[in-house]
């Protein structure tokens, strides 16, 4: 049996989707959570100064989306054809981009710059992305692609917690298809079981 060891911070963030995928796949994994105070020491030991990393049978892999995609392949969450996979990847990458923009605001140190970034997010970026993402889910029968569950759905349903936390606001409130998708993913038995037992964090 394969051994999986996830290393990330003690937040949902970008570790969340990997934890969802491993849970969905029904495999055991070690869920290592680095304290921020230990990060300066841990950072140079990662392949490119970043977490999450996933150790599979003793070898360290990095980069969130590639790790998610690898797990998606193992657990049949990539659609039926290569073109299905392309659309599923595109949806996951888009959610990843949106989270990145929110995190660039959240971690901005300069207060004037931070206010400017927030303004752009609230008035432009979030409405633009969320409307299009909501429409995509509506058009695809409640999922991001093809009327069936894919890793893009799990990716979104994990990362949305991080986006809401960073924005200190339920930015998905006015997007009923996205809200329903979150509820549906969270109700999957193995995801529900994971959520019940995993640490509660703000982001």
């Amino acid at each position: 049996m394969r051994t999986y060891k996830l290393t990330y911070f003690n937040i949902v963030g970008l570790g969340g989707p990997i934890r969802f995928l491993l849970s969905y796949g029904g495999v055991e994994f070690e869920d290592i959570r680095i304290e921020r105070s230990n990060w300066p020491e841990a950072k140079p030991k990662t392949p490119f100064g970043q977490v999450p990393t996933l150790e599979i049978d003793g070898k360290v892999y990095y980069q969130t989306l590639p790790i998610c995609r690898y797990l998606a392949k193992q657990f049949n969450l990539l659609g039926k054809s290569d073109l299905d996979a392309l659309e599923i990847d595109a949806a996951a990458n888009t959610v990843h981009d949106l989270r990145k923009m929110v995190s660039l605001y959240f971690f901005e140190q300069d207060s004037a710059e931070k206010a400017k970034k927030k303004e752009t997010l609230v008035t432009t970026t979030l409405p633009f992305y969320l409307k299009r993402l909501d429409d995509t889910v509506k058009k695809n029968g409640g999922y991001f692609h093809g009327g069936e569950l894919s890793y893009a759905d799990l990716f979104f349903a994990a990362v949305q917690h991080n986006i809401k936390g960073f924005m200190k606001n339920d930015v998905f409130e006015d997007y009923p298809n996205l809200k329903q998708l979150i509820d549906n993913v969270h109700a999957l038995p193995r995801i529900a079981a994971w959520l019940a037992k995993s640490p509660k964090t703000d982001y």
Copy 2:
């Protein structure tokens, strides 16, 4: 026969790797280049306000890395196993991240902020990434993974032009393994033929 229609700006940028992949695959494609002055009109017609997009048999696909990965699959540039593909994806995603950081500097409007971003890139980010990328290529026999050509190599050999252009400097000069990889990819017959006939641009 499939028809491919790429839409991007008239620069290498993120369109470059897709043009490299289509050329490497030996398929014909339409290479549509939007002028910056036409972008405000074209932007809302794209799926998420961004290019490149790739139309395949009349359907529009989006997101650079997913498009590259799809083409890589068609042209056998994804290694042998799913774990090979994970490492190849991680390398391509890392180069994509680095380009993004360089572009955030390049497009910064505030001059003080721009100077700060450049300082961080030159003293910290670029040396950190380029050393690790160079070591990866050295360790893998001249490629990013597994001693054989993958789409990560084509991705890098295209995008490096954009990074150099934005930095107005050959930032790869002191990294012999990266330089050699660029030369090797550019010497592939179909890539060389593409480079000979494609428009020359600064980025």
